[in-house]
Amino acid sequence: MRCSGKAVMCFCLLLIALGVVLSALQWPIKTAVFPIGIGSIIFVMAMIELLFTLMDKEKGIEEKDVMDFKLSRSIDPALARQRTISIFLWIIGFFFMILFLGMPVALPLFLFLYIKVSGKEGWKISLGLTAGVWICFYFLFMQFLKIQFRAGWLQDRLRMFIS
C-alpha cells in the first residue's frame, strides 16, 4: 500500500462525486439526471484510480507521458518544495492585498515587494519596473478603459471611521 499525494487527490475526487450524487438525489429528476449520471461515473473511476494508486499498480504515473505541461524535475526536491510554497504564499498574499487595499494600491505594492524581497533586485530596477507597470495599468485600465476598481476593505473601514 502506498499513500501518496495522488491517492489523496483521488480520495477527494471520490468524496466530491459522492457529495454530488447525494445532493442531486433531493432534486427533481430533470435537474438531477446529469449530476447523478456523471457523479456516479466519476465515483467509480476515482475509486478504481484510488485502488490502482494504493496497490501501487501504476507506480509513477505522474512521470509517464500525460499529454500536458510537466513540472521541472532537475531541481532538488526540498528546494523545489520551498520555492513552490513561497510563490503560492506570494500569490495568496497578493489576493489579500487586493482585498484589503484595492487593486490600484495592491498592484505596485506587490510588484515592488516581490522584486525587492523575493527577486533580490536593486532599488533602481525594483522602483523602475514597479513604476512602469503601474503607469501602464493606470492609463490603460483606469484612464482609457475607465474601469472602476473596488476600494479595499481597509479603505472602506477608514472612510466609514472618518465619516
Binding site: 499525494g5 495522488k6 475526487l13 466530491i16 462525486a17 454530488v20 432534486w27 427533481p28 430533470k30 435537474t31 446529469f34 449530476p35 456523471i38 457523479g39 466519476i42 473511476m45 476515482a46 478504481i48 484510480e49 490502482f52 504515473i61 505522474e62 509517464k64 507521458d65 500525460v66 499529454m67 500536458d68 505541461f69 510537466k70 513540472l71 521541472s72 531541481i75 523545489a80 520555492r83 513552490t84 513561497s86 510563490i87 503560492f88 506570494w90 500569490i91 497578493f94 489576493f95 487586493i98 482585498l99 487593486m103 498592484l107 506587490f110 510588484l111 516581490y114 522584486i115 527577486g119 533580490k120 533586485e121 530596477i125 507597470v133 495599468f137 485600465f141 478603459l145 474601469i147 476598481f149
Partner: protein
C-alpha cells in the same frame, strides 16, 4: 442557367465591390486603427475580444457602415492572432481561445524555440484567417439551408463529437485514456455549478450569489494554465528559456513559417475544423482550438511521434493557431445571414451592425452584399497586415523569454489577476483564479491532464442544455433523426480513430518484422 449565371456575375461584382469598399482610404485607415488596438488587446490577457468590441461600440455611432465594419472587424480578427503570442512566450493565454497553443508553444519557448513557435503560430493564424474569410465568402449563397437544418439534437451530437476528442487529448495507453476521461468528467461536474438550464434550480451554489451563473471560464483557464507555469518558473529560478543564449531565440521564425507550409494540409484541415465549429452557436473558439489540437495529435503516425505532443511539437502550435482564426469568418455567417450570433463577440458585433443601421438577414445577402463581402476581405486583409508586422518584431518578442524570472513572475501574476478580474471587478473571480491555480498545480503534479478537464468544463453545460431541449421538443425520437445518426457515426469514427491507427501501425510493424 440564366439565373445562375446572373447570380454568379452578381456575386463576382459584389466580391470585387467589397474589396474596393475596404480599400477606400477612410475604411482602410479605420481598419489599421482597429488592427493596432486588436494587437494589444490580444497580447494582454483578460481583455477579451468581446470586451474590446463592447468598449469600442460607442465610437462607431458616428462612423459610416463601411468604416465601422472595418474598424470593429479589423480589431476583432487580429485578437486571436496576437493572443497566441502571449500563450507561446509566457504560458498565459492571451485570450481564452488561445489556451491550446500553450500546450506545445510554451514548451518550445522553454527549449529556446520561441521564434519558431511564433513563426508557426502567426503563419498558421494567417492561413486560418484566409480560409475562414474564403469560407464566409463562399458560404453566403448556400449556408441558409444547412444551418436551418440543424436542430438541438444535431447540436448535441456536434458536442458529443467535441467530447470524443477528449480521448485524443488524454495520455498514452489505456491508463492515460482512463485518467483523461476522469479529468473530462470532473470538468463536466464543475460545469454543472449554477442554475440548471432547464428547471432553474440552483445546483452546488452553496448560497453564493456569485455562483448563480456558474463558474466563469476566464479565471478558471488563467488559474489552471498560468499559475502552474509561474510556479515552475519560480522553482527553476531561471528565465523562461532557461540559460540559453538570447541571440538564437528569434532565429527560427522563418523555420516556423516553413513548418506551416510543411504541414499545410494539417493547417487547412484545422482551419476547416475551426470554420465548422465556428458556425455553431455557443461553441466557438474555446472548443475549436481543442478539437483542432486533438486533430493535430491524431495526425501523429506513431506512438513515439504522438508522445512528442505537449513537449514542443510544432504541429501542436499550428493546429490551434489556424482554427482560432478561421472560426471568425464562419462565425459571421449565422450572424450576418440570420442575425443569430454564434458567440458573445459576434453578439456584440451584431449590436455594432444594428447601431450603424445594418439589419442582418436577407438584406445583407442582397442589397448590402458588397458590404458583407467586405467583411470577408477585412478578416483576410487585417491578418495579412498584422502577421508580417508581428514577424518583424519577433526577435524582440522572443527575447522576452530571456528576462529573469524574478522580474517576469510578478508581472505575470499581476496580468493573471487583472485578466481574471477583467471588467467585472468581482472578488469572486480572484478567488476562483487562486483556487483554480492550486487545482491546476495539483493536476500537473499528479498527472491529471488539464485539456480534457477544460473540454468537459466548456461542453458540459451546453450538452446538458441541448439534451434537455431535444427531449422536451422531440421526446426520445430525436435519436432517429438522420442528422443525429450521421453525426453519431462521425463521433464514433473520431473516437475509434486512434485505436484503428494504433492497430494499423502494430500490424505494419509485425509485417515488417516477419
Amino acid at each position: 442557367m440564366y439565373v445562375l449565371a446572373h447570380l454568379e456575375g452578381d456575386m463576382l461584382d459584389s466580391l470585387i465591390g467589397g474589396l474596393l469598399l475596404l480599400l477606400q482610404w477612410k475604411s482602410f485607415l479605420h481598419m489599421l486603427i482597429g488592427i493596432f488596438i486588436g494587437f494589444w488587446v490580444g497580447i494582454l490577457p483578460g481583455i477579451g475580444g468581446g470586451t474590446a468590441l463592447a468598449l469600442m461600440l460607442p465610437f462607431v455611432y458616428k462612423m459610416a457602415p463601411q468604416e465601422g465594419i472595418s474598424f470593429l472587424l479589423g480589431m476583432h480578427s487580429v485578437i486571436a492572432t496576437t493572443g497566441d503570442i502571449t500563450s507561446v512566450l509566457f504560458g498565459i493565454p492571451g485570450e481564452p481561445t488561445t489556451v491550446a497553443t500553450i500546450m506545445d508553444g510554451y514548451p518550445m519557448a522553454k527549449k529556446g524555440e520561441a521564434g519558431r513557435a511564433l513563426g508557426a503560430t502567426l503563419m498558421s493564424s494567417l492561413v486560418g484567417a484566409v480560409v475562414g474569410a474564403a469560407v464566409l465568402a463562399g458560404a453566403i449563397p448556400v449556408v441558409r439551408p444547412v444551418v436551418l437544418a440543424l436542430g438541438s439534437p444535431e447540436m448535441l451530437m456536434v458536442i458529443v463529437i467535441g467530447l470524443t476528442f477528449i480521448s485524443s487529448l488524454s495520455g498514452r495507453g489505456k491508463h492515460g485514456l482512463f485518467i483523461g476521461w476522469l479529468a473530462g468528467g470532473v470538468g463536466f461536474l464543475c460545469s454543472m455549478i449554477g442554475e440548471d438550464p432547464q428547471t432553474g434550480i440552483l445546483r452546488f451554489t452553496f448560497g453564493s450569489l456569485y455562483l448563480f451563473n456558474g463558474i466563469p471560464l476566464v479565471p478558471v483557464i488563467l488559474g489552471l494554465f498560468a499559475i502552474p507555469e509561474v510556479v515552475d518558473l519560480k522553482v527553476r529560478g531561471t528565465a523562461i528559456a532557461g540559460d540559453l543564449p538570447p541571440g538564437n531565440l528569434g532565429k527560427g521564425a522563418m523555420e516556423g513559417v516553413r513548418d506551416t507550409f510543411r504541414h499545410f494540409w494539417l493547417t487547412v484541415r484545422c482551419s476547416l475544423i475551426g470554420c465548422w465549429i465556428g458556425l455553431f452557436l455557443g461553441l466557438g473558439g474555446a472548443v475549436s482550438q481543442w478539437v483542432s489540437y486533438a486533430h493535430a495529435v491524431q495526425s501523429a503516425k506513431t506512438p513515439e511521434e504522438r508522445a512528442g505532443f505537449g513537449k514542443g511539437d510544432v504541429r501542436g502550435v499550428i493546429g490551434p493557431g489556424a482554427a482560432n482564426n478561421s472560426k471568425e469568418g464562419s462565425g459571421l455567417i449565422p450572424t450576418v445571414a440570420f442575425g443569430i450570433p454564434a458567440s458573445s463577440g459576434m453578439a456584440i458585433l451584431l449590436g455594432g451592425l444594428l447601431i450603424m443601421g445594418l439589419v442582418p438577414g436577407p438584406e445583407m445577402l442582397a442589397k448590402n452584399l458588397p458590404l458583407t463581402f467586405s467583411m470577408a476581405w477585412t478578416i483576410a486583409l487585417a491578418n495579412i497586415i498584422c502577421v508580417p508586422a508581428s514577424l518583424l518584431f519577433i526577435n524582440q518578442l522572443a527575447r522576452l523569454t530571456t528576462v529573469r524570472g524574478s522580474l517576469l513572475i510578478p508581472v505575470i501574476v499581476v496580468l493573471c489577476f487583472l485578466g481574471a478580474s477583467g471588467t467585472n471587478i468581482l472578488i469572486g473571480d480572484l478567488v476562483v483564479l487562486v483556487i483554480s491555480g492550486g487545482v491546476g498545480y495539483l493536476m500537473v503534479r499528479f498527472g491529471l491532464p488539464r485539456p480534457p478537464f477544460v473540454m468537459g468544463f466548456i461542453l458540459g453545460n451546453l450538452a446538458e442544455s441541448y439534451l434537455g431541449l431535444s427531449n422536451s421538443i422531440y421526446g426520445f425520437s430525436w435519436v432517429y433523426r438522420p442528422g443525429v445518426i450521421i453525426l453519431f457515426c462521425v463521433a464514433l469514427g473520431v473516437s475509434l480513430y486512434p485505436f484503428l491507427i494504433g492497430k494499423k501501425i502494430a500490424g505494419a510493424k509485425e509485417l515488417k518484422e516477419t
